[in-house]
Structure formats: structure tokens, C-alpha cells
């Protein structure tokens, strides 16, 4: 893209000057705005983050509340039209098949369960600060049978609420693991690229060694050796650390490559000649220049982490119930029997796919925008 296309509005004459004085982040932002798909993905990601922050608000039921008489209820559609705008769902009734003794759920077109926006439901905690019982979607009459937008699982737990709560865990584990590996990657990659010589040699060989290890068996073996008696929080931290331990290498390579290029730049030489300390050169002058690259690389690393956590938990070696993550939810759909009986148990996978696609497109857009001078 040439530099003329950077200007947000060609009609204003002063915009030409705006480009030459605009700070780096502004140039990146102008260029990013041109990428429509990445903008849409960015909005989707913001939505997902809001859900992850307030899963209770969007839920319709306590995610760990089980009802033995309501297992494997299929998804119920929310209706918006009933001779005029309305908000309700058709009631669903269970009948036991006299021959197979299997519960069969039939939607009754005559019985309606009225719903309302911003109604009251179960109590939930806002960011661990205070409690409220306001929900986006709630029953008008609390004695009505609950509505399950994504159906229920083996224990009759509401899957919609569980997927939303899983968003919090899956997304935050991805973020934390990437945060950890970014720090390791920047420190080691920076040392490697800035100092060069035998330090560079040693770190590069270490990275090559780690990259030639197939990660999945190592992850499995490490997480299998975690004590089973650990609490949910301990397991969460341990899994995050295990994921970060092997994945920092890619980022370290990226940072090293940027350092090698920047080291020869005029402004670094100028800083050195004016007597800046090495720490100041690295953190005040070099790191800000490559921050947009780092942000793009980090955005692309998060979806990889999310998928890896899903793998581990799906195989029963990652997070363990009662923790709720997308992988833990998908564990319920591990074999043909349960999938054939209740195909909607695969729906948490759709949450994974949407999130990963959105983050990947966003990351691609950021990477393209990261170099506004080219």
C-alpha cells in the first residue's frame, strides 16, 4: 500500500501533514481500519471478551446446577414473533418411551414460556465485587420450567450457561499462557538478538531443540503428572505454565529477528553515541518500535493456546471438572454413543471455532498494519 492511501480523508489538505507527524500507533490504526474483515473480527473479539468478563449476565441458569429429571434436553429456539413482536419459547415436555424406556422430549406448540429482557434470575457475582440477579434473558414467571437455548447435558445442566462460563476460563487461559510466553520470549529473544555472540548461539540452539520436540506428548505427560488432589485454581495455573513452557520459542525468534534489524538502525547508533545506557536503548527506543509486531504475534498466538487447552481438557488431562472450559464441556461428547444421542453436546466446539477464526483474522490484520511505512 502506498503512503497516499493512508490518509483517513483525502479531502482535507492538512491530512497530508497529519501523516508526517502522526505517531506510529496512529499510522497502524489508519491502516488497520482499511481491513474490513479484521475490523469485524475485532468487534466479535470485543463481544467475546465482554462475555468472558460477565458470563453470569448472559446466562439463564446457574452453570453447575443439575437437574436429574432434565438430562439431554435438545436446544430450544427463542421465538420473537407471535402476532406481533414477542419474546417466548415453546415449552418442552418429556415422555418416557414405553418400549425403550428412553426419555423423549417433545416441543408443545400450545404451551408458551414467556421471557423478558433484563429480568431477574439466580444470583451471580459481578467481577467478584458485588452480587446481582439481573440477567439479559430471564423467565417472566420464575415457576415456569427453565428454557435451554443450547439444550442440557448428561446431568441436566444448562449448556448455554456452561458455554458462556467456559468462555471466561478458555479465553483467560489463552491470554495468560501467551502473556507468560511473551515475557520469556521477549527477554530471551531480546538478549539473543541484542548481544549476539555465544549467548545468541546458546539460546538459538535451545530454541531449536525445544521446537523439534513434538509438544502434544510432552504436554500430556506433564499434565498427567500433576497431583489429582490439586484444586481447580492450582490446576488452572499449572496448565497455563505447561502451555507457556514450550510455546515461547516462536515469539523469541520473532523478537530476535527484529532486534537484529533494529540494532543497525541510525537511531540506535545515535542513542548509543549520545551515551544512553544499554537498558535505556532496549526499552525506551527499541521495544516501542516493535511493539506493533509483538502485538500482532501475540494475537496470533492466543488462538493456538485456546486450541491446545481444548485438546488437553478434551482428553481429560487438562482442566478437570468442576472447572468449566470449552475442552471440559467437549469431554462430554467424547464418544459416538453420546454424540449420537445428543449431537448438541458438540456445540461448545462452535464457540472454539468462532473465537479462533476471529482472533486469527484480527491477528492477520494487525500484522499487515504493523508496518505502516511499507
Amino acid at each position: 500500500m502506498s503512503s497516499e492511501t493512508l490518509s483517513p480523508d483525502q479531502n482535507l489538505p492538512e491530512e497530508a501533514d497529519a501523516i508526517s507527524v502522526a505517531p506510529n500507533w496512529k499510522l497502524v490504526w489508519w491502516r488497520f481500519k482499511k481491513h474490513k474483515l479484521a475490523m469485524i473480527s475485532g468487534i466479535i473479539v470485543i463481544f467475546i471478551v465482554i462475555i468472558a468478563a460477565f458470563p453470569g449476565f448472559f446466562s439463564t441458569q446457574d452453570p453447575s446446577e443439575s437437574r436429574t429429571r432434565g438430562s439431554f434436553i435438545p436446544p430450544q429456539a427463542i421465538q420473537f414473533w407471535d402476532n406481533g413482536p414477542a419474546l417466548f419459547a415453546y415449552a418442552i415436555e418429556g415422555k418416557r418411551n414405553p418400549r425403550t424406556l428412553k426419555m423423549e422430549w417433545i416441543t408443545s406448540e400450545t404451551k408458551k414460556v414467556p421471557l423478558r429482557l433484563f429480568g431477574r434470575g439466580y444470583e451471580w457475582e459481578v467481577l467478584g465485587l458485588f452480587k446481582t440477579d439481573i440477567h439479559l434473558l430471564a423467565l417472566v414467571n420464575p415457576d415456569d420450567p427453565p428454557v435451554h437455548i443450547l439444550g442440557t447435558d448428561r446431568l441436566g445442566r444448562d449448556q448455554w450457561s456452561r458455554v458462556l462460563h467456559g468462555t471466561q476460563v478458555s479465553l483467560s487461559i489463552g491470554l495468560l499462557a501467551v502473556f507468560l510466553s511473551t515475557i520469556i520470549g521477549i527477554v530471551l529473544g531480546g538478549i539473543s538478538g541484542y548481544f549476539g555472540g555465544w549467548i545468541d548461539m546458546f539460546i538459538q540452539r535451545l530454541i531449536e531443540l525445544l521446537q523439534s520436540i513434538p509438544p502434544i506428548p510432552i504436554w500430556l505427560a506433564l499434565s498427567a503428572s500433576l497431583p489429582r488432589t490439586w484444586s481447580v485454581t492450582q490446576g488452572y495455573i499449572a496448565i497455563t505454565a505447561i502451555l507457556a513452557l514450550i510455546t515461547w520459542t516462536g515469539l523469541a525468534r520473532e523478537v530476535r529477528g527484529r532486534f537484529l534489524v533494529l540494532r543497525e538502525e541510525d537511531f540506535v547508533v545515535a542513542a548509543k553515541l549520545s551515551g544512553c545506557s544499554q537498558l535505556r536503548i532496549v526499552f525506551r527506543h527499541m521495544v516501542p518500535t516493535m511493539s506493533s509486531h509483538i502485538i500482532a504475534a501475540v494475537t496470533l498466538a492466543i488462538p493456538v493456546m485456546i486450541i491446545n487447552e481444548t485438546f488437553l481438557s478434551f482428553l481429560g488431562l487438562g482442566l478437570r471438572p468442576p472447572a468449566i472450559s470449552w475442552g471440559v464441556l467437549l469431554q462430554e461428547a467424547q464418544n459416538l454413543q453420546s454424540v449420537a444421542l445428543a449431537p448438541w453436546l458438540m456445540l461448545p466446539g462452535v464457540a472454539v471455532i468462532i473465537t479462533v477464526i476471529a482472533l486469527n483474522i484480527l491477528g492477520d490484520g494487525l500484522r499487515d498494519a504493523a508496518d505502516p511505512y511499507h
Binding site: L209, Q211, S212, I213, P214, P215, I216, P217, I218, L220, A221, L222, A224, S225, P227, P303, I307, T310, F311, F314, L315, G316, L317, L330, A333, Q334, N335, L336, V339, A340, P343, M346, G349, V352, I353, V356, I357, N360, I361
Partner: protein, 329 residues
Amino acid sequence: MLVFILKRLMLLPVLMFVFSIVSFILIQAPPGDFVTSYVAELAASGSSMDQVQIEALRNLYGLDQPAYVQYFKWISRILQGDLGLSLDFQKPISELIGQRLLLTVILGLATLIFTFMVALPIGIISATRQYSFFDYFFTVFNYVGVATPTFMTALILMWFAFSNFGITITGLFSPEFADASWSFAKAVDLAKHIWLPMVILGLDGTARLARILRANLLDELNKPYMEMARAKGMPEWKLVLKYPLRLAINPLVSSLGWYLPLIFSGSLIVATVLNLPTIGPLLLRSLISQDMFLAGTIVLTYFGLAVIGTLLSDILLAWLDPRIRMEEA
């Protein structure tokens, strides 16, 4: 070329030494020694082991000696070809792994061939017809392919086949061949079953490789030598296949270095869902039952497969690209 290969081969023992230490650390990782937990497990299930047997096991693995002695005992037995006994299955580990390892390698190679056969044409078409319907279609396919965890693809296909055609598509063999010895009929049966796990495993890699090829090919397509050849009247398809493709394919071959190990270890998850008789599900089971020597041996096997995969891709790359073999030799 020979010097290059020899240099790479010399690196092999060093790598395997490091990896064997990593595997051994993993064996040691669970708290408590495994004989104690094994005895406890036996006691819980109602049976027991006499003291002499327990002592013999402790001696064999050197459990009361420091870690490096234990490592030495373990690795020297492995080098002699004695992989030890799986406590969970009560069978020699070599017997458990043997057949499964062969199937893992067959599945991995089949996936690799499938990936290249599909990714090459897709990459070429998307690059030569940039921004066409094909290109957009495969861009979408790429994003979805990378974003869908392999086990989800396996689950969805399994469910689709079951609910629409009433067939179960798990396993690598029909029941009558599962325990039979190798014969022509068994190989045919394998070929009938292997395509599905092959496609599922290869989907993600196909999307990535096609993307890499497209990007590299696009860089080459605008170079002056292309114009030159066109001006001389060379047919377009021959031109693309003969010059830019040969340059653009190098990064693809070097990606084999990470792709082949990824197939081997990635097949673990698909194999668990589809219930395939490869080493993946065995690793999972041994980890869950804390049969750590079996688990450690399988992890070491994965490392071995990864090292061989990298070696093969290095040799292939040197053979394709004279610049690399001159530089390294």
C-alpha cells in the same frame, strides 16, 4: 551431499541422548515411585503381590538408588532392546508398541502424501488465479481448517456418518481382521479404513501448506524472468510448473521438518476419538493409569519419529536445493 548427510547423522545420537533424558524426567515426574502406587492399586482391586516380587522390581529399576543410576539402568536396558514390562497390561512393552508403531507410521505417511497431493494444486490455483472465486473459497477453507480442532472434525464426520447412513467409522480394521496376522486381505481392509483418519488429520496441514505455497508463488510470479519466458511464447502452465514452482516449493519441503512430527503426535487426539490402534491412545491410557515406563517409552518413540522426520526433510531439502548443501557441507 554425503558429507552433509553424515553431519546430520552425527547429530542424531546427541539429540536422542537429550530426548531420552527428557523422557526419563517425565517418567520420574509423578509423585512417589511407581512400584508403591502399583502395589497400592493391586491392593485396592483385591489382589496382592508378595514381598519377594516387589523387591525384585525395586532392584530391577534401582528405585532405592540415585536418579542418574536409575536413568543409566533404564537406558542401558533400552539400548539392549529390552523395553521392559508394562505393569498395567502385564505384557512386554515391545509387544504392545510394535504393531501400533507400524500403523502410526503408515497413517502418518499416508496423511503426508494426501496433504501434498491436495495442497500443491490448491496453492498453485489460488496463486495463479489470485482474487478469483477459487482463491476466496480456499481462503475461507484455510481459516476454518486451521480453527477447527481435529477432534471436532472427527466427531462431526463420525456423527454425520452414523445419523445419516447408520455406519460407525471408527477403527482401522473390520472386526474380523483386527487380531488377524498380516495378509493381503488385511492390507486391503486397512486401505478401506485409513482414508478417513487420513483426511481428518491432513485437513489442517493442507490449509497451512497451501497458504505458504500461495504466498511464495505470488512473490515469484511478478519477477521479470516470467515476462521473459512469456514473451518467448512459453505456454503458461508449463512456465508456472517449470520455474516459479520449483523456487516456491522449497519452504514447503523445509516445513516437512515440523509437519511430519506434528502429524505423528497430532494423530494422538484423532486416534483417541476414532479408536484407532496407534500408539496415541496407548500413551493416553498409560498416563491415566500412571504406567510411567510404558508412557516414557512411547514419548521417546514420538521423539524418535520427530528426529527421523526432521532428518528426512533436511536431506530432501539439500537434494532439491544445491545452495543448502554447498553451504552446510
